[in-house]
């Protein structure tokens, strides 16, 4: 453990994980909003909206996140000149958030849509029978039930998002995986403790999160 007794290394470790948490938090909010909107598009009666939602999902779900993040940096920033902050780290952070959000939104959309599928058709029929419009049906009857059904899948998406945040290290943000790489390179005698600490921290954050979402999903499940 002598590696982490050095305050420089310890600070790097803490700031690496803080970046991961910040990336996860911001991207989760954007991806959730965008994903629910896309899911509403995909089940809407307007063909153009449906097409847009389907195109988004097919494009971003089938492209590697590494490529998307790479494009955010080398395409949006270097080539097209998109600047989000004067501070280099901040700028890379926001570029990473863009990449993570557009990618994760596709998975949120599919999760929510599969949740809509679990709502029995009779619910929607009843809603229409009492004269609710499409948006009322969606907002009052379908989405609340679908939302409860997708707690567990959304939990998986969130966990994956947190792990995916390490990929932003590719564009120069010194997050946890980059810190670990540097420590491995300079401390060849302690590679196992270093990996154990980093992997263990992720496991300590994510395994309880997984169980929490499982518990929440059971609690919120619509009993039919």
């Amino acid at each position: 453990m002598h590696v982490f007794a050095d305050p420089t290394n310890f600070d790097a470790y803490v700031s690496g994980f803080l970046w991961i948490l910040k990336l996860t938090g911001a991207s989760a909010v954007f991806a959730l909003v965008l994903g629910v909107l896309l899911a509403a598009f995909r089940v809407s009666p307007v063909p153009v909206l449906r097409g847009f939602g389907a195109a988004w999902v097919n494009i971003f779900r089938n492209t590697p996140l590494t490529l998307i993040v790479f494009f955010c940096f080398f395409g949006l920033y270097s080539t097209l000149g998109l600047r989000l902050s004067d501070d280099l780290d901040r700028n890379n952070y926001w570029l990473g958030v863009i990449g993570l959000s557009v990618y994760t939104a596709a998975f949120v959309c599919e999760a929510v849509r599969s949740g809509v599928n679990t709502v029995p058709a009779g619910q929607a029929e009843a809603a229409r029978a009492i004269g609710l419009t499409f948006f009322q049906t969606l907002r009052i009857v379908i989405l609340p039930q679908a939302g409860r059904a997708v707690v567990a899948p959304l939990g998986s998406v969130l966990i994956a998002l947190c792990k995916n945040a390490t990929i932003v290290g590719t564009i120069g943000l010194i997050e946890a995986s980059s810190v670990m790489k540097d420590l491995l390179n300079s401390n060849g005698d302690a590679v196992i403790p270093i990996f154990a600490v980093f992997a263990g921290t992720f496991a300590a954050i994510l395994i309880p999160t997984g169980y929490f979402f499982g518990w929440l999903a059971n609690r919120l499940a619509v009993k039919r």
Partner: protein
């Protein structure tokens, strides 16, 4: 998507007008957005012929894209075979009657599911050489990482599949005198694989995409060679990224199409295991959905 049609009525005249108006409005917005993107690209000079011209040359394809595609497919193929094997072994392990098999298998699966793939690849590529006093190739690091992570996710998928099979199946197998290993191998695993086919294939799509992480340890796959090295030579990073993204999308769509075809085939032939969710939805969640890492 049959269910979504229930959400709204068959459109009457007013609804049809409203839908048409919305379509046109949103369509215009979309066109405006695309136009904006186009002009932004134009301002940055991204439509110049010299940036796209390399893709019409044979050498671009024979030197950069096709060899890189081969490396990607090689890593993905190896990873798929190994992770399927890993998944089956650990799924069966987690269902073992002996706690000293069940508990370690569970720990391994939970651990590798929780650790980011990139961390694993870094450890194997930068850390393990210190331990074994010898180099680890980028290919080994990528494939080993892919196997451990996706194998663990697949193990959970197989386990859920095995548990979804009606008890009567294994009871009948025991009744005709099969041993436990035979029941697992001949009765449960084949049916679980069938029931979980959609989840398994979407995880294989994840695996294929994850090979792009190899770029980070300089494994010459599609992202490293086709985007990074190619654009270093021609200065066309946007064009290269778009072309390579199209290749990935095409590959993954093919894989998904194959899965749907297989699913349709097995659905016709075999009896269907009843799922807890609504009748014609894919396993709509549970905790076994493929995890979108990478």
């Amino acid at each position: 998507m049959s269910t979504s049609n229930v959400l709204y009525d068959h459109p009457g005249p007013r609804a049809r007008v409203r839908n048409a108006v919305l379509s046109v409005l949103f369509g215009l917005g979309l066109v405006a957005l695309l136009w904006w993107v186009y002009t932004k690209f134009d301002q940055a000079g991204q439509w110049e012929g010299r940036l796209w011209e390399p893709f019409t040359r044979v050498t671009t394809w024979t030197e950069f894209i096709l060899p890189a595609l081969w490396q990607t497919l090689l890593a993905a193929g190896t990873g798929m075979v190994l992770s399927l094997a890993f998944g089956i072994v650990f799924a069966v392990g987690r269902l073992s009657d002996h706690w000293w098999i069940r508990v370690p298998a569970g720990v391994v699966v939970e651990f590798f599911r929780a650790v980011p793939l990139l961390l694993m690849i870094f450890f194997i590529f930068y850390g393990v050489p210190f331990l074994i006093q010898g180099p680890v190739t980028a290919f080994t690091a990528v494939v080993a990482g892919l196997t451990l992570y996706n194998g663990s996710v697949l193990a959970e998928a197989f386990r859920a599949g095995i548990r979804s099979i009606p008890r009567g199946q294994s009871e009948a197998a025991y009744a005709v005198g099969m041993r436990k290993s035979q029941v697992m191998r001949l009765i449960l695993v084949p049916q679980a694989a069938r029931a979980m086919l959609p989840v398994i294939v979407s995880q294989l799509v994840v695996l294929l995409k994850d090979t792009a992480l190899g770029y980070i340890v300089a494994f010459p796959e599609l992202l490293a060679r086709g985007v990074n090295d190619l654009s270093a030579n021609y200065g066309n990073v946007v064009a290269a990224a778009i072309v390579v993204a199209l290749i990935y999308i095409l590959l993954n769509s093919l894989l998904t199409a194959l899965a749907n075809w297989l699913d349709g085939r097995t659905r016709r032939r075999a009896f269907r295991i009843p799922r807890q969710t609504a009748p014609d939805s894919t396993p709509a969640g549970g905790s076994t959905v493929a995890e979108p890492q990478g």
